[in-house]
Structures are given as C-alpha cells and as structure tokens.
C-alpha cells in the first residue's frame, strides 16, 4: 500500500531521519520504535505526507506528496494525543467531520445520507451512540480519545497513522484503544503505522517493527524477531532485565 525508498526528512538543516526504506502491506501493523529524539514522530509525519521529505514515497503507486489534501484525507488518517477540546462541538458533529474529505465542495454542501450512515455506524461500533449530543468539552480524556477514534474510522482511510494515541490514558482505555485498532486493521485493505510511548504497549500492537537509532533504521522485521540485546543497546537500558523486574513487582503485589 505504502512504499518509501531512501526517505529523508527534517526541519531544515540536517535531516532528522535518514534514508528509510519500507513497504506497508494490507493488514500490517507497523510500529516505529526508538528512544526520545530518534526521529519516530518525524518519520511518521513524513510518511503521512504532511512533512516535506526527499526520496521516494508512494501510496498505491502514486507519489503521496502530489495528492491534494482532500485526496490524502480520503486515504490516510491520523490519530494523535489530544487531552482537552477547545471548542464545544458535539460528539456527533466531531465524528461527522471525519467525512469532510468525502463531501462535495459545492457552496452549502451538506453531508450525504451515506456520510451520516457511516458516522452513525462508527459511533455505534464504539458504543458512543448514546453520547452523540454531548459536547466533547465535557468528556474525560479516555472518552474524548474514543470519539476521535470514531472520527478517524469515519474517514474510511486505508491507513491509520498513530502518534502516541494512548498518552495520558488510563490503562483500561489504553488496552481498549489498542484492541479496537487491531480489529479495525483486520478489515480488508487496511493497515496502521504507529508510534507509542510505552514499549510494552507498542510490542502488543505491532506485528512488524522499525527500530530507529538517531534517525537511521537499525532493525526492520517482525516484532517476534526483534533482538532484545539490540533493543537494550538502542534504548541504553537493559530492557529484558527491566521487564523481568516489572513482572516480579507484579507477582509480589498480586499475591
């Protein structure tokens, strides 16, 4: 679906991410791993076409950067972290906004019955239908993120990009969000690329991993094949020892 070759990008000056090559297949859940400052979010934003980049970047055989914003909005969506809403849109209005790239451009164009049906399905699918008339400013962080997930689904994209979508969420919502995204990705012609703050959560979502170290890919492949020694070197922490200690703490607490 998505193909990048020797993709480099940055914010002017030295590139932050250098010569990344990857392909994303339908059904794939790719997680970009790396410590702070390794270029995870930069790479993610470059892959959405939002951040200018050099090298090849193709979506279904077309240069992604040549697509119009609306064309891009029909094929790609992004879910990032948002803890508070500034304006009191209702849940329904917010989710219907996901249909924007599909709506006509005519003056006073309104959402079609199809747009409304899709928004309704997405709300019902995430158990949000009873909340549809509530202002999003009144929702908790977890509920708000679920509404934004519904909006992302309503965009009916092929690829969903995830920019640390579980930050500041309670554990319950973190797990729920990851499960909902996993089952969405199982649908036909869909894939996801994500960046997660939590290593454990990242590995529970990923089936493939791209490990970044100072802007360069040091591992690309299945999540299962990731070498823990390499992970420890890149993160400058003994990751397996930390995970073991964490498990032991739990076993003591759990009794």
């Amino acid at each position: 679906m998505l193909k990048a070759e020797k993709l480099s990008c940055g914010y002017g000056g030295e590139p932050v991410v250098r010569e990344i090559s990857l392909t994303l297949s339908p059904g794939e859940r790719l997680v970009i791993l790396g410590p702070n400052g390794s270029g995870k979010t930069t790479l993610l934003r470059a892959l959405t076409g939002v951040l200018p980049s050099s090298g090849l970047l193709e979506l279904e055989g077309r240069d992604l950067r040549s697509l119009s914003p609306r064309e891009r909005g029909r094929k790609l969506a992004m879910l990032s972290q948002m803890n508070t809403a500034g304006f009191a849109f209702t849940v329904w209005e917010t989710v219907l906004m996901g249909r924007y790239p599909h709506m006509g451009r005519g003056v006073f164009s309104t959402p079609s019955p199809e747009d409304r049906r899709i928004a309704e399905d997405c709300l019902k699918g995430l158990n949000l239908w009873p909340e549809r008339n509530r202002p999003i400013t009144e929702l908790s962080g977890g509920q708000l993120q679920r509404v934004l997930l519904a909006r992302t689904f309503a965009q009916t994209p092929g690829i969903i990009f995830l920019d640390e979508p579980t930050n500041h969420l309670d554990l319950k919502y973190q797990i729920e969000l990851v499960e909902q995204l996993k089952s969405w990705t199982a649908g036909p012609g869909r894939a996801a690329v994500g960046v997660f703050h939590d290593l454990d959560l990242a590995l529970s979502f990923a089936d493939t991993v791209l490990l970044l170290d100072r802007g360069r890919a040091v591992y690309q492949g299945s999540a299962a094949g990731l070498d823990s020694a390499l992970l420890s070197r890149v993160f400058e922490v003994d990751v397996p020892a930390y995970m073991r200690a964490s498990r032991e703490r739990w076993e003591r607490t759990g009794g």
Binding site: T48, V50, P69, R70, E71, R72, G73, R74, L76, A77, M78, S80, M82, T84, G86, F87, A88, F89, T90, E93, M97, G98, Y100, P101, M103, V107, F108, N133, R134, P135, E138, R151, Q155, F161
Partner: protein, 333 residues
C-alpha cells in the same frame, strides 16, 4: 448537559425587540405603532424625519457594525485556534485608528473628508492585518496560530504607540483622535449602512459556505491537515476576509472593542460550536448587543453621549474576566 439548543426564533425576536426599543427610545419616545407607521410612510412629518433620517440609520449601522465585528471575531478565534483571539488583537483597531488620525491631522475636509476618513480607517485596518500576516509568514513558514497572534499583538502595540505620538505632537487633534478611537454612531446617516450591508452579507455568505473548514481549523493544524484541509491556506483566506469585514465596520464608527471577543463566546455557549449555527448567532447577538450599548450611550447621561466603545468595554471587560477565570478553574480540576 445536552446539546446546546439555543433557538434562532428566540434570538430573532430578541433582535427585533432590541431594534424597536432602540428606535423608540431617546429624547422623544415613540411607540412601536408610530415607528411602524413612520416606516410605512404615514404619521406626521416630524416623526418620519426622526425615525427615517436619524434613529433608523443610527440603529441599523450599530447593528451591522456589531454583527460584523462579532462574525469577524468568531472566525478569527477558530482560524487561529485561540479563544482569546480577535480582529482587534490582530491590529485592525490600531491600524484603522492610525489611518483615520492621519486623515484628521492632514486636514482633509469637506466632501473629500467624508469619504477620506472611513477610507483611511478601512485601509489602515486591512493593511495592518495583511502586514501582520506577511510578517508572521516570514517568521514561521507553517503560519501557526500562535505566531499570527503574537505578530498581530506586537504590530498593534507598535501602531498604538505611533498613534499616541501623533496625538501628542498635534494637541489640536488629540481630542478628536481620542473620540474616534472610542467609537460613535452619532450622525452618520445612511452612507455607512449602504457600504457595510453588502460587505457583511457577502462575507457572512462566504464564511457560512466554508463553515466546515472553520470547524476543522478549531481542532488545530495537524488534525485539520490529516482530515483533508490545507490549514495554512485556509487560515490566510479567513484572516484576510475578516480584515476586510472588520475594516469596513470600524471605518464608519471608529474603534469599538470587546464585542468581537465577547459575542462569539456567548453564541457558542447558547448555540454550540458548529459554525453553521455559531456564525449567524454571533452576528445577531453582537448586532443586538451593539444596538443596546448604543442606546445606553445616548440615553444614560442625556443630553451628553457616552462613547459607545466605553459602554461595550464596561460590560465586556468583566465578561472577559469571567471567561478567563472559568477556564482557569476548569483546567484545575
């Protein structure tokens, strides 16, 4: 709380009542019946002259100005994703004040003066916003809301300083410059109405037709962008149009603050955040508010007039505080 369900029928009736009250009250009080008779060309000549020649143009201009400033404020707040943004904060007022003062000090008078003053006010307001946009773009290629707000603020303060300097260097004009900056709808005739009405209708129409883009922009650039909008382009377009609209509004009446900031917040509270509802609601609310402020300005201390800008600010400033502290409180819990 359920969906904000403000009724447009109630708002329409409130607007009509504000207009009737304002046309009816003054040195001579008129009943709604005699106003209607005068509007239809009946009644005595004195009442007709009072209604059609004096009060109606004044009330209409006040309504249109309030509506234009409020619609402009609503768009600005969403386009800059900042609930405290306003056209005046972006330099419309300082620029318009500078333009108008230049005309006063240069002493353009007579028939030319009647056109030159509003024209210079308009050009000054529009020019300042466009300059703020160009500068913001030079500093920040992404043209983020914060950069635009900061650039506008700095430019606004800079032009205000020049304005003060101008008033200090030309003491003969200082009072006139000061009064223009406080705004007034006295003795403006129909001229302002005929210019402002089409500009307002056109701008409102464009804003409404692109209301969905404003909805998206309220969520910030990154989200707007991934939903299929070019936020930089949309923001530039909206700000430029707001500058035209509010420039035209202040050109005839002078600077009248706070309506542009306050009306959008009240409209959102009553009618929700969706711009298809907020925009017309803010325009009607702001228009009515301005009409009532103007009524207060000419009746409270009659026969003296209190500058209408002072009335709106007296009511607007506490309201602004209320919003500010409420936000703080909300963030704390």
């Amino acid at each position: 709380m359920r969906k904000a369900g403000g009724s447009f029928l109630a708002l329409g009736l409130f607007t009509l009542a504000a207009l009737l009250l304002s046309v009816g009250l003054g040195s001579v009080s008129l009943s709604p019946g005699s106003i209607l008779t005068a509007l239809l060309g009946g009644g005595d000549e004195g009442t007709r002259a009072l209604v059609l020649g004096l009060r109606l143009p004044r009330v209409t201009l006040a309504f249109l100005t309030g509506a234009a400033l409020s619609a402009g404020g609503t768009v600005m707040q969403s386009a800059l994703e900042n609930p405290l943004a306003s056209p005046f904060g972006l330099g419309v007022s300082a620029g318009a004040g500078l333009g108008a003062s230049a005309v006063m000090v240069l002493g353009v008078s007579g028939a030319l003066g009647a056109v030159a003053l509003p024209a210079a006010g308009f050009a000054g307001g529009l020019g300042t916003v466009l300059l703020a946009l160009a500068l913001a773009r030079a500093f920040d290629a992404r043209l983020s809301g914060v950069t635009v707000v900061l650039t506008g603020m700095v430019l606004s303060l800079f032009f205000s300083a020049i304005l003060d300097l101008m008033a200090a260097m030309n003491p003969d004009y200082a009072q006139r410059i000061g009064l223009w900056q406080m705004g007034s709808f006295a003795a403006k005739g129909w001229q302002g109405v005929w210019v402002l009405l089409p500009v307002l209708l056109l701008c409102l129409g464009v804003f409404l037709s692109r209301a969905r883009e404003l909805d998206l922009l309220s969520f910030g650039d990154e989200q707007a962008q991934t939903m299929g909008l070019d936020p930089r382009r949309a923001r530039r377009f909206f700000i430029a149009l707001v500058a035209v609209l509010t420039g035209a509004a202040v050109a005839f009446s002078g600077i009248i603050g706070f309506v542009d900031l306050v009306a959008p917040h009240v409209a959102r509270r009553l009618f929700g955040a969706s711009h298809r509802r907020t925009l017309p609601a803010a325009a009607l609310l702001g228009g009515s508010f301005m009409v009532l402020c103007d009524l207060a300005s000419r009746t409270l201390a009659a026969p003296r007039e209190i500058p209408v800008g002072a009335v709106t600010a007296l009511l607007g400033a506490p309201f602004f505080m209320l919003i500010f502290f409420k936000r703080k409180g909300a963030a704390g819990c």
